[in-house]
Amino acid sequence: MATTTLDRAAPAGTGTGTAVTGTGNLLRFMLRRDRIRLPAWTLGLPLLMTYFATALDTIAQTPEDLAGLTAFTSSPAGALFGGPGFGFDDLTIERFLAGQYGLYVLLGAGLMGLLTVVRHTRTEERTGRAELVRANVVGRHAQLTAALTLTAVMAALVALLIGAMMTSRGFDLGGSMVFGASVGAVALTFAGIAAVTVQLSEYPRAASGMAGAALGAAFVLRGLGDMAAVQGSGPSWLSWLSPIGWSQQTAAYVHDRWWPLALSLAFAAATATTGYVLSARRDFGAGLVPPRPGPPRAASWLAGPFAFAFRLHRASLIGWSVALLVAGVAYGSFTQPLLDGFENAPADLVEVMGGGSGDLLAGYLGMMGLTMALVVGVYAVLAVQSLRAEEAEGRTEPVLATSVSRTAWIGSHIAVVALGVPWLLLVAGVGMGVGAAASTGDAGLLGDLLVGHLAHTPAVWLVLAAAALLYAAAPRVLPVIWVVLGYGLIAGYFAPILELPESVLRLSPFEHVGEYPLEDVSVIAVVVLTVLAGALAQAAVAAFRRRDLAGGA
């Protein structure tokens, strides 16, 4: 099919093609390949927004309900996980939707942009399919051009659909269009970033990993900037370093500014151009960073299933350690500006952040402990998912064909990740502690933060053990484990807004230990969660011993 399409691409009469010859046909081919993915993304993001809107309608039925929400959303934590909060002093449903929940749609759009570009460029090259395509009448830059065009089409669709959906709910047309466009703009900027990262490495996972790290950095930067903006002191300009920040600075339904999106477009154009320039400097199929030879022999410690499991998880552990340390220092050093900003804050606002004691500092530090615990939970789940990939791609089979038992194999992997959990919490706690101590001049905060972070270890262990059990018993339903983390996030941050009853709240494994130093650490909870995690891990090992191994070939 591809061949006939590409045959028609031959420029009739001219005899020569340009670097983008064949783009149109490639684009049609991509649309055909993405006939499920494209609607899934472009309908999924508007549907997510619809869900938020419907949920908010049920939560806030009266103006008083809505006013009650402001207390949380105007706080630094609200800013960190929402946005700069334009117009929140005169809150309306649509302002709250765009200003608080909009962030998650923006993140989704960023993912859409970078994943689509990587999928159609580096993945194609890596698998060798692009070689077949390029052997036809297809220009050097056609593949990247078609991938970027496809992403732009998807971004435009998302922008229009979200704008139309918000307008149809009775919100202001101009504001809805600005908001929709701000979502599409994030997709474009991260498509541009991915156009650069796919040139750097030969491997699609490395390319999407680098672009994903940029998305994470964009989230953190604007989080810091927005926190500063909400309390009126600190480096609020940080938000302007982030492509997500530009989209949020449009202030939909408040100022309806279009001009920040010009920054997004310029950035997308600049990164895409860089991508083209870099791609001309490398060979087909190669990265700019050449692969290096490694040791011809295994190190002497690399013997036995545990050492081997550690070797496989090592690179990811190093990456997570660096990221958590940097994020910890960044958020920790924000402690003093936050305290300054709240000196003149209204009492009820401080109440929400710091509880009855009015201890804003403890509230912030406790909340950061929970945040880091959720992030380390993501690490644990991804680590278990890597086991599934290991098995599905046929690398587990030859290991189990040696004298490594199934118990030893899965047990070693669980053990390595289980040790990685307190290690990463420790690293995050050290980062936060050093940042907070340096910012406030109170060295004692380091100890508080270490306890506050490490106390969450059993909760993350429980998530890890549950994920391992799902993998061992029914690998296909493993993604269900994300629900636990998602619920942990909702219960942790939005409990004051959602007014969830205590019994429902406590379904989350993260709501038992206590957010030290705001709350005491519950020793009983630590013991119970640990025992529970141990039991689930045992069950995982037992289940894995019983089932057939998935074939690689």
Binding site: P293, G294, E393, D548
Partner: protein
Amino acid sequence: MTAAIDIHHLDKSFGRVTALDGLDLRVDAGTVHGFLGPNGAGKSTTIRILLGLLRADGGRARLLGGDPWADAVALHRRLAYVPGDVELWPNLTGGEAIDLFARLRGGTDPVRRDELCQRFDLDPSKKGRTYSKGNRQKVALIAALASDVELLLLDEPTAGLDPLMEAVFQECIREVKDAGRTVLLSSHILAQVEVLADQISIIRQGKIVESGSLTELRHLTRTSVEAVTDRPADGLANLAGVHGLRTDDGQVRFEVDGDQLAVVVRELGDLGVQGLTVRPPTLEQLLLRHYGDRLVRNGAEGVA
């Protein structure tokens, strides 16, 4: 002779798909046993059951005197396995992977490892993800051949190897055999099995349809004969077991059933044979008889 592998009536299905349907297989210790069949016939499933990676639904399998599922770990110390599609860890070099497999199995001969790396012309310092398919295959082969084990389970081990490396592989298997070890060599590369195997079993749709030595199997098939004779040889067509006789330019071509060959050759001698080419049946023809002309021949399947 003791059996290294002894399988009775093994059944295995995946959902509604029956992979193994009463499979019987016996591999004598110290022999190279060819395990032939087309894709999807159940070769890999059989080997995975022998490795304890899959659990059989019914039947009995013994491996080196033990139970493949219950005694998996103890048995794996005494065998090495090469899958048909070797996947390596992207971040580990080939050399690291070889050492790792050897250590996980319980020891290897480092001298032999280096010698095999040279013979197979493998650069062990490259990362797993930069290897081509053939080189990944070499990594698994070296890891298996360097280890001191009683049994090698090789599942289409030379897919992706070039002819030169294929020759090295055959040499290595002969050495393994001379050392008194057992090899189960699954393949659809017929020439390879023909050259190496003492015994052959042919699997089709989860069942062994034929089993025996190459000589034993040959009498089941037809030998191709080309001859130039003084006197016209058309009369041969009337002999029992002669098929498809054609003559042109004084040359006669026909096929003859294996057990009638002696009679036919005597007749050819009487006709004053000047030139004679006799081609033994290839395994391709053996397979063709089982998978090619299924409609024509129904009765001949109960041989195994």
